[in-house]
């Protein structure tokens, strides 16, 4: 019988011949990720009464949410994590000099197709870009997996999203995913697996696919997924020599829905305050004054994102009322951007280059907002208070829209003539 990717992989990981959507299965994950929340998880783990984690080799821990530590409390948190990692002999630990978890795990070769990855972070959906079944879970669940190597999961129904047409100039994967979220709504894919397919996906870079899968959770999805192809295989070849088997949906699998989008006429898209599905074409919000712009995060902090921004900003100065913050997603991205002269261009334009990490995306540090301020960001969330202040507003857009807007001090259509 024909099966979806989700049904096949959860059958494989639960040791069953076959499973169907809606069924609850007990599975054993291949990779378990946690980040700065590891100290809190370790405390829960100790409450279970187990001394040692069952499989230290399955655990990956990058520090990224507040790096370097902003206050004594954050410093103590990091210290406890380093002690736990040593005590449990967890080798896949990445300290504050590495980058954002969702960039670091693929870069370091922890993500391969056909595996089950669970992470104590909602944007764990990102790894679906490599053909993994990858979902966010809570802290107690990570603690419990450390002890038992097991968790229950419900086999999700699958929504297939076909993206067709020709990508118009200055339209990026971020515009595409914002458009889809705006259309389907914040719960449009609640509990579902979302499979991105079609010509546009095949033409899309690995980084772009990561942006799509990263934001699948913003429409409620359990996982995002892109079928691996030659691009995936090549990308992985440089990162890992682990053997893997590609798992894909059968063409005639039982998809709950198949939705087509033709993006040939798509405008740049903006998610407006205070929900990610409050998406408008740039023409409706152009002219909105901004105080800060952010290029980075697990959504859009990759080399291609910084490159697009630097090409737009080259030889120009950021508007004098605007603060441009740049957070390369990892130290690898940082080093490449440095070698290519991208960071130099950005600095000349007036950017503040920050160290790889989550920065102010979740309101912890490094550029939080003041009451009345407006930020245009490449991140994935614009909830009230998200960037540290509930009287501030956050708009979300592509790196190109963010870069061009930083030159004019207001939300600007990147397709217009540069003044």
């Amino acid at each position: 019988m024909s099966k979806t990717f989700a049904e096949k992989i959860l059958a494989l990981k639960s040791g069953k011949e076959s499973v169907v959507s809606g069924e609850i299965v007990i599975v054993s994950p291949d990779v378990v990720m946690s980040h700065d929340n590891t100290a809190a998880i370790a405390k829960k783990f100790k409450q279970i009464g187990v001394e040692k984690v069952k499989y230290p080799e399955k655990i990956v821990i990058p520090l990224d949410h507040c790096v370097p530590a902003a206050t004594e409390k954050y410093a103590v948190n990091h210290k406890e994590i380093r002690e736990f990692v040593r005590e449990q002999k967890i080798e896949n630990f990445y300290d504050i000099n590495t980058g954002v978890c969702h960039q670091v795990l693929p870069e370091k070769g922890h993500i391969i197709p056909g595996t089950l990855v669970l992470g104590a972070d909602s944007h764990t959906t990102t790894y679906g870009a490599f053909g993994a079944f990858s979902a966010g879970i809570g802290r107690s669940e990570v603690a419990s997996i450390w002890a038992t190597d097991e968790i229950w999961l419900r086999v999700p129904e699958t929504i297939k999203i076909n993206i067709k047409g020709e990508i118009p100039p200055e339209i990026y994967p971020k515009d595409i995913i914002l458009h889809i979220i705006g259309d389907l709504g914040a719960d449009g894919a609640l509990y579902k697996a979302v499979e991105f397919s079609g010509k546009v996906i095949r033409e899309m870079s690995i980084g772009g696919r990561m942006t799509l899968c990263n934001m699948a959770v913003e429409m409620g999805a359990k996982i995002g997924y892109v079928e691996p192809d030659e691009k995936t295989v090549q990308w992985l070849a440089a990162r890992t020599d682990k053997k893997y088997e590609i798992v894909k949906s059968d063409l005639d699998a039982n998809f709950e829905k198949i939705i087509d989008y033709d993006i040939s006429k798509l405008e740049p898209q903006i998610a407006c305050p205070h929900t990610v599905d409050n998406v408008k074409p740039v023409s409706e919000v152009a002219g909105t004054k901004i105080n800060q712009v952010l290029i980075g995060t697990c959504t859009n902090g990759r080399l291609e994102d910084l490159k697009i921004a630097s090409e737009i900003l080259r030889g120009k100065k950021v508007f004098n009322r605007v603060r441009l913050l740049v957070f390369p997603a990892s130290i690898e991205v940082f080093a490449q951007a440095m070698e290519l002269g991208i960071l130099q261009e950005l600095v000349k334009s007036g950017a503040v280059i920050m160290n790889p990490g989550c920065g102010p995306c979740l309101g912890a540090h490094e550029g939080v907002l003041a009451p009345g301020e407006v930020c245009l960001s490449t991140a994935n969330r614009n909830f009230k208070g998200r960037m540290g202040c509930k009287e501030a507003e956050v708009f979300l857009a592509s790196p190109a829209t963010v870069a061009i807007s930083s030159l004019y001090g207001e939300i600007t259509d990147v397709r217009g003539d540069i003044k």
């Binding site: 609850i24 700065d36 929340n37 809190a40 829960k44 409450q47 279970i48 009464g49 187990v50 949410h65 507040c66 206050t71 409390k73 954050y74 948190n77 104590a120 972070d121 909602s122 764990t124 966010g136 879970i137 809570g138 802290r139 107690s140 669940e141 603690a143 419990s144 002890a147 038992t148 229950w152 914040a186 719960d187 609640l190 509990y191 409620g220 359990k222 929900t275 599905d277 979740l362 309101g363 912890a364 939080v368 969330r381 909830f383 009230k384 208070g385 998200r386 540290g388 509930k390």
Partner: protein
């Protein structure tokens, strides 16, 4: 098990950032202190006035956003006895069960409940009684009920491992 409490009613897409702001995620570790910030960016009155066994009633996609478990912890320690919603975000649903906070998914009931009224919920019978009538809701799956009955995932896992060891 049944619960009777006063209703605090909210809309759709109540996200984890307004339930428990990200700026506190690593600076506040005491559950009682978390409770003083519950729903801070949505309804500043809530944490000050909420009473034990009060009930949150909300629209679609309650708890969307971050995986932060504190979004459940802060509500639980603020006294919330149960959350009734049209639907729950996936990770929030898991987190609530894993911390022993019961959830009821019932669209019809939500549409008929007003803020401030007193509601009674009988979990065994799957019935919710409010001013406008009695509404049925489906029971939680068995695998999930076991966790809830043990008071959350950590005590549940502890119990299971002890059974496996024959203690």
């Amino acid at each position: 098990m049944s619960i009777k409490g006063k209703v605090w009613k909210y809309g759709d897409d109540v996200n984890t950032d307004v339930i428990f702001p990200g700026k506190y995620t690593y600076t506040i570790t005491d559950p009682k202190e978390m409770a003083t910030h519950a729903l801070e960016d949505l309804d500043p009155k809530f944490a000050k006035k909420v009473e034990k066994e009060d009930i949150i009633v909300a629209g679609r996609n309650f708890g969307c956003g971050s995986s932060r478990e504190q979004a459940v912890t802060c509500l639980k320690y603020a006294g919330v006895g149960v959350i009734v919603a049209k639907s729950f975000a996936r990770i929030f649903f898991r987190n609530a069960i894993n911390q022993g906070l019961p959830l009821v998914q019932c669209k019809e009931a939500v549409e008929n409940i007003s803020s401030g009224e007193t509601v009674t919920i009988d979990f065994e019978k799957g019935k919710l009684s409010c001013k406008k009538g009695v509404f049925n809701f489906p029971p939680l799956p068995e695998s999930v009920l076991g966790i809830l009955e043990d008071g959350g995932l950590i005590p549940h896992t502890k119990k299971i491992l002890k059974i496996e060891k024959g203690e």
